[in-house]
């Protein structure tokens, strides 16, 4: 069953240049879809459009059959938007922030406590749940940020550069958690410029070059299409063929 589908979306910030030049793809239930591309290819723009924070200039994105333009609020209930750039109020504590967002997401009051215990347990936040955010390390902050973004247990997760700036341990924890979510039937779309992440996690990879998806498939399929030996070579070949300067 398809969960996310993008139909020929375009996005231009200025009149004369297009950042996204017609992108279409589909993400099915229980699937991790990876958008792989160099910096400036338009990954973040694409992710923002999927998560309703940006509106496409033309084309449409539907998430569980809801249009991002029309049903943004309903979509917000179903998606979790994660980015490594998310910072948190430095003077608050994980506990307070969790409670605040639980209210915003309208989570039933009697459920908040159990859910918090569970999520904080999974990420190992419990020991520092009452410390101020600005006393936490980057990895800890990232964990808190992820826990808060997943507060409403969304079916669809949009993750921009999931392991960017994380140490090896935390990044392992994050990738393991994503796999765990997939096994529970969640759909995940992530953007990355790191091959190993794409290779290890994604069921399907779209290679994004200059605002266009130039090839799509599993790592094996991609190497086959490009007639190369490794996935890295396949990516470079696709990039050289499609990048215009």
């Amino acid at each position: 069953m398809k969960v996310i589908s993008a139909n020929d979306i375009h996005k231009s910030y200025t009149k004369d240049s297009e950042t996204i030049k017609g992108v279409s793809f589909e993400v099915n239930e229980g699937e991790i879809y990876g958008l792989l591309g160099p910096n400036g290819a338009g990954k973040t723009t694409l992710m923002l459009m999927i998560s309703t924070l940006l509106e496409p200039t033309s084309g449409s994105v539907t998430i569980t059959d809801l249009d991002t333009r029309k049903d943004a609020l309903e979509i917000h209930r179903r998606i979790g938007f994660l980015t490594t750039e998310i910072k948190l109020d430095p003077l608050s504590t994980p506990n307070k922030l969790y409670d605040f967002f639980a209210e915003l997401y309208d989570i039933p009051r009697d459920e908040i406590r159990d859910r918090k215990a569970l999520q904080f347990g999974t990420f190992g936040i419990t020991p520092f749940a009452d410390k101020k955010i600005n006393e936490l390390s980057t990895g800890m902050k990232q964990k808190v940020s992820i826990a808060i973004s997943l507060i409403h247990d969304p079916k669809v997760i949009i993750f921009d550069e999931p392991t960017n700036g994380l140490d090896i341990l935390t990044s392992k924890q994050v990738t393991d958690y994503l796999k765990h979510l997939r096994s529970k039937g969640h759909s995940i779309i992530l953007s990355t410029h790191i091959f190993s992440v794409a290779q290890e996690l994604c069921d399907k990879i779209g290679v994004l070059v200059d605002g266009k998806i130039v090839a799509e498939g599993t790592t094996d399929e991609l190497t086959k299409i490009t007639e190369t030996d490794t996935f890295e070579e396949a990516f470079f070949k696709l990039y050289v063929e499609n990048h215009k300067e």
Binding site: Y13, D16, G40, L53, L54, F81, I86, D89, F100, E103
Partner: protein, 783 residues
């Protein structure tokens, strides 16, 4: 209400610093100061109620002058009654009788304690003597009967005519209590005495009073003879002003911390990703800010009620006004918070609105006596006057309704704009970063969207506000630092005592402001102040250098001088420019003097430097050096290139010249002609700056101009009187202010206009000559 909205409101009161508002250090310190002031106010409020005079000197006695026999008889007859009252109350100094003391406080049934002291006097209006008596006898009231009171009363009752018998009363005013005690005494005791008189004369039914009681407050040397009216005036001016400031400040500090603050620290992306509608986000934040702003405002209202015993129906109107004002201001703050991406820019953007509203308040204070009623119907003006009127219990109901409704409509409209702006994609943080990087890579020439234009306007407003407020802030900080020791020093001077004495005769708010400005003028011309301003100006230059060093990241430090228009590279050129400037300044001021002499304004010139004043002369000399340079940095070296970068040279020159003129407008004796002159002088300096590319020459001209004017020729410099001078120039009796400039100094006169215009013409001629020469050179070279 949605749960999310409630959560947002709740986050404002998360004292362990929740996701919502967090206070900056400045706000925290201001809150502490506010709480301190509040405690002081409450303590003073307690003292007001504390019946301390019961313990110290018991002032209950009543002096009766020329007491008629009937009054003495009546007093004797009531003696037993009064004694019983005293017994039932018990000793006032006994704390166990606190209930009676409270009863005493509220009923003023004090005549039970009064003892009558009989005196004789011929002069019925000799209140100076009565005051002395009251002080000596612990009396609060003097009753003066006519000599032949009993006979007059007999006549009155026999022929029934009202023959204008007048009993005079004088009461002390050094405590508000005495006024109330006097009222009580007249309405109860003297009324009973009248009934007693009727009874003894067997008269029963007369509707009019038998004698008229004229009560006069004795003028108190401390000068609070019109306390009640003063309180009413305060209620109409100071109280609304305080409420405005408190609401503005509280709303600003909490309102810019949400949304703009959340964008800064990144929480806002999470909030906007939640399923909460954006209108709810705006409503929640506006409500939170409103409540935060209301807390201190309501305390102020409460204080007015308890402190001045104004418990009237007007209080409800005041509350309505305050709530609606808080809502309006909160919605404005939230709108600004939505447009800006961090706390600092939001606060800077709110600053003009803050100052504008304070300016509105000041206009309201100035005109509160004779303002058109129409103003009461509009928001802000209506709030200001409405609060004042309602405190005086003169609520204008239609005005209230109109003001509240229009302000409510405005609030909703602003809230709708905020919610609508939140819908725009560019106002989320993560978008902003994408956008900036993408926009720069794209090719430039596209038409700006409405939002981009709004953003540009905001950033421009912030930029120009910075240009205006930065020099103002720097100047006032250092002037304040120099004024404090001056004030402490001047307190021992006769001028200060005179000021305090003068204040006693001041009745209106305007007069207080005028007197304060006058005294501030004395401070500003004090040698100590001038001496302190010497390091002050140097520190100001340093402040500017550090700002450039820190903000514009110019390295090494010496290079920052160049960015202020003070390049250090070519030393000989610097010295040459500076010396030329000094000579030019001398020539210009000299020409002014020559014009003044030729036009017959000057009566005579003598040597004016006295012994012992040489120190002040040197202090002045030292002070003008950095003073000229500081002003040149502020208005030329710093301001012009920065404004030029944003717009163009013409705007930079005209705006900086206008600001230069405006900055001097606070000085004494400022006239429209002075404004024009200062503008022209600034224009001349700006053109010289543009010509030379640095401010060395203009700094020298500026310094020499002021020095020559103030300390060599002996005229006033822009309203500041120079303390000592080599020459003393005295204007003749026929001198015309329009030529000499009057109190503002020669810069307010036509003589300076003539010199400045000549200077401008020479400069323009020189540059066109240069251009022609360059062209010729060019022509010969190419040939």
């Amino acid at each position: 209400m949605r749960r999310g909205t409630k959560a947002i409101i709740k986050s404002f009161f998360n004292f362990t610093k929740g996701a919502g508002a967090k206070a900056s250090v400045g706000a925290f310190v201001s809150c502490l100061v506010f709480i301190f002031v509040l405690i002081c106010a409450f303590v003073s409020y307690g003292l007001w109620y504390f019946p301390y005079h019961l313990w110290s000197d018991e002032v209950f006695n009543v002096i009766v002058v020329n007491a008629p026999d009937s009054f003495v008889e009546y007093n004797n007859s009531t003696e037993a009654n009064r004694e019983a009252k005293r017994d039932s109350f018990g000793s006032l100094t006994d704390l166990r009788n606190y209930k009676n003391i409270l009863r005493y406080q509220y009923t003023y049934d004090n005549y039970g304690y009064s003892e009558f002291i009989y005196k004789e006097s011929e002069a019925a209006y000799d209140f100076v003597t009565y005051q002395k008596w009251m002080k000596n006898e612990d009396a609060y009231l003097t009753i003066v009967f006519p000599d032949n009171f009993d006979e007059l009363i007999d006549e009155r009752f026999s022929d029934g005519k009202l023959n204008s018998i007048e009993v005079l009363t004088y009461f002390r005013t050094d405590s508000l209590e005495y006024g109330n005690m006097k009222d009580q005494f007249i309405s109860v005791y003297l009324n009973d005495y009248q009934n007693y008189l009727r009874k003894t004369h067997n008269v029963t039914t007369i509707e009019t009073e038998d004698f008229r009681i004229a009560d006069d407050p004795v003028p108190d040397p401390k000068g609070n003879n019109s306390l009640a009216s003063a309180i009413l005036a305060i209620g109409r001016t100071v109280v609304p002003l305080i409420i405005f400031i408190v609401i503005l400040f509280a709303a600003m500090s909490s309102g810019t911390n949400v949304i703009a603050g959340q964008k800064e620290n990144g929480t806002f992306t999470e909030i906007i990703m939640s399923p909460l509608p954006r209108s709810s986000i705006v409503i929640g934040n506006t409500a939170g800010v409103t409540i935060k702003a209301l807390i201190p405002a309501l305390i102020v209202v409460l204080m007015t009620q308890t402190h001045w015993r104004f418990i009237t129906p007007g209080i409800f109107a005041v509350l309505i006004y305050v709530v609606s004002l808080a809502l309006l201001i909160s919605s404005i703050v939230i709108l600004i918070s939505v447009i800006n991406n961090n706390i600092i820019s939001a606060q800077t953007a709110f600053l003009p609105i803050f100052l504008l509203l304070i300016a509105v308040c000041v206009t309201c204070i100035q005109n509160y006596r004779e303002v058109s009623e129409l103003f009461h119907f509009f928001p802000v003006y209506g709030h200001f006057y409405g609060i004042g009127n309602s405190l005086a219990n003169e609520t204008n109901i239609p005005a209230l309704i109109s003001c509240i409704l229009s302000s409510g409509v405005l609030t909703v409209a602003i809230g709708a704009v905020s919610a609508n702006l939140l819908h725009r994609e560019r106002f989320t943080v993560s978008v902003e970063s994408v956008r900036n990087s993408e926009v720069h890579t794209g090719t430039g020439t596209h038409r700006l969207s409405f939002m981009e234009r709004a953003d540009l306007i905001t950033s421009n407003i912030v930029f120009f506000a910075d240009q205006i407020f930065y020099p103002l802030a720097v100047l006032s900080v250092f002037q304040l630092l120099a004024v404090v020791p001056t004030v402490i020093n001047i307190m021992s001077h006769p001028e200060y005592t005179q000021f305090i004495l003068d204040l006693q005769n001041v009745k209106t708010i305007e007069e207080i402001i005028a007197t304060t400005f006058e005294v501030f003028g004395i401070f500003l011309s004090d040698p100590l102040f001038l001496g302190l301003m010497f390091p002050g100006y140097i520190l100001m230059i340093l402040t500017y250098l550090l700002r450039i060093y820190n903000r514009e990241k110019i390295r090494p430090f010496t290079a920052c001088f160049g960015k202020l228009g003070l390049p250090l590279e070519n030393r000989t050129k610097v010295i040459k420019s500076y010396l030329t400037g000094l000579v030019l300044g001398l020539i210009m001021m000299g020409s002014v003097l020559v014009i003044l002499i030729i036009t017959g304004q000057v009566n005579y010139i003598t040597f004016g430097l006295e012994d012992g004043i040489t120190v002040t002369f040197i202090v002045n000399l030292l002070m003008w050096l950095p003073q000229g340079m500081t002003e040149e940095i502020m208005f030329r070296g710093f301001m012009i290139p920065r404004i030029r970068e944003k717009s163009n040279t013409a705007v930079a020159v005209i705006l900086s010249s206008f600001l230069f003129s405006a900055f001097h407008s606070a000085n004494i004796g400022f006239t429209p002609l002075a404004a024009v002159n200062l503008f022209l002088i600034a224009l001349l300096f700006a053109l010289i700056y543009l010509k030379t590319g640095n401010i060395w020459m203009t700094s020298a001209i500026h310094t020499m101009w002021n020095l020559t004017q103030g300390n060599i020729i002996g005229l006033q410099v822009s309203g500041t009187e120079a303390a000592s001078s080599v020459l003393r120039t005295v204007y003749g009796k026929s001198a015309m202010d329009i030529v000499t400039g009057g109190a503002f100094g020669s810069e307010g006169g036509l003589a300076v206009t003539a010199v400045t215009v000549t200077g401008l013409i020479i400069l323009l001629l020189l540059s066109s000559l240069q251009r022609i020469r360059r062209k010729q050179k060019h022509a010969t070279e190419s040939a």
